[in-house]
């Protein structure tokens, strides 16, 4: 997977998490996922389609999700499964929305779909076309994992080039 696709996600995760939690974050380990995706906690999946297609999974352990929810709300919130899921989905939505904004302004045209809870324990194994990069973001509330699998949609790009050339 090309770095130009990944960098906006790293920047967005860093900026959104630091801003939402009012505390600096650091980007921890990166790894290419060779085995299939394995869920760690509460996970939200966001699909993208257009010039670039694929999906991003945001994965947070339940305790971290509650701490993040309370920090984002500015008050201690009572623990609930629904709140954990809502928090992870909204966090994913904000990080990915910000990354998509950067990529669109760079000339890639695609749309982001609403976040969905990812409940499977395992996901598809990545292929050469859609390698998955897993990154860990360390925050004051705990670790947040982001799993990005995307590829260029060459057919879309060719169609747009052809239209532009007419």
């Amino acid at each position: 997977m090309r770095m130009e696709l990944i960098q906006p996600f790293i920047n967005a995760a860093d900026a959104v998490l630091a801003d939402s939690l009012q505390s600096p974050t650091s980007i921890g380990n990166f790894s290419m996922e060779e085995e299939g995706y394995r869920r760690r906690g509460v996970a939200a999946l966001i699909a993208v389609s257009g010039d670039i297609e694929g999906r991003i999974i945001f994965d947070v352990d339940p305790k971290t999700a509650m701490r993040v929810a309370s920090r984002m709300a500015g008050q201690e919130l009572a623990e609930s499964q629904e709140l954990m899921c809502e928090t992870v989905c909204e966090l994913a939505n904000q990080v990915i929305g910000n990354a998509i904004t950067t990529l669109n302004d760079q000339g890639f045209h695609f749309r982001v779909h609403p976040p969905e809870l990812h409940t499977s324990e395992h996901g598809d194994k990545s292929s050469e076309d859609t390698e998955a990069l897993v990154m860990c973001i360390e925050t004051c509330s705990g670790k947040v994992f982001m799993n990005v699998a995307m590829r260029y949609n060459s057919r879309r790009r060719e169609e747009r080039t052809a239209v532009a050339g007419q």
Partner: protein, 145 residues
Amino acid sequence: MEQFAPVKRKDGQPVRYLVVDDSVFARNNLARMIESFGGQVAGEAGDGCTAITEYDRTSPDIVLMDITMPQMEGIEAAERIVRSHPNARIVMVSSVGYQDNIVAALQRGARHFVQKPVKPEVLYEVIKYVLGEDASVASAAGAGA
């Protein structure tokens, strides 16, 4: 959460908001900000279709509208509301803030755009700007009165 000098309607009543977002978490956060501005949540919706019916039901002073939502997205909902209510004041609140999206929202009748994560002080300034002369801001000394 920080308290702001209350923004009131010209008749002295609290500004009434319709909050549209498919995330309950995001709606709750916006509701807390609205409260800190001295406003009142008149209604909530989790998708564009419900937003249209809630607008008709509540006639809010201002709509805070997400873009990426199931069933009907925010830009289409904004367009439909403005078609029926040309004076509707709609502020798009979304994490997807690329230029084409902002232009599309403004062309279809939205008055402003705020990117998520929402900073209360930014939203407060946008609200004051969008309400313009239809609202007044209480002085800090009178905020608690």
